[in-house]
Symmetry: C2
Subunit: 80 residues, 2 copies
């Protein structure tokens, strides 16, 4: 199965990349923009066929490598 | 509303970051891993309240700034 991990900065952590994107979009004429945050997206192909086990495996990857728990949070989507 | 943009490298474009993550995970003992790709995630708060118009606006942002159409493709999720 396929897992998709979204790693984003925690609320309150300064996100200069997101701010830069916001300024660029405003400079191009886009209006009505609120906050913009940039994060990482990691797509993983897994041999595991059980969704619950796949999620547990990816959860462990996030804790051990993919996300920095001090500044980042993560969300996992598992697809068939 | 909130838009979530996933920008990923097109199939066939070399992804050294994804490869590095894969090697690191294997080195930590994770097995059964297939391809791993890293992409960007951009979350945008929009004043626009109409989902179709919000999507059209974000589509334009992707074409003009957020994605490099030569190497990357993008997917947009709109949330209420």
């Amino acid at each position: 199965m396929k897992a998709r991990v979204r790693v984003t900065l925690k609320t309150g952590v300064l996100d200069p990349q997101g701010k830069a994107i916001g300024h660029a979009l405003e400079g191009m004429g886009f209006a009505g923009l609120g906050e913009i945050r940039q994060g990482k997206l990691i797509e993983i192909d897994l041999a595991e066929r059980d969704p619950a086990k796949a999620r547990a495996q990816v959860e462990e990857m996030c804790r051990k490598l993919l996300a920095n728990p001090v500044m980042e949070r993560y969300a996992i989507d598992i697809e068939g």
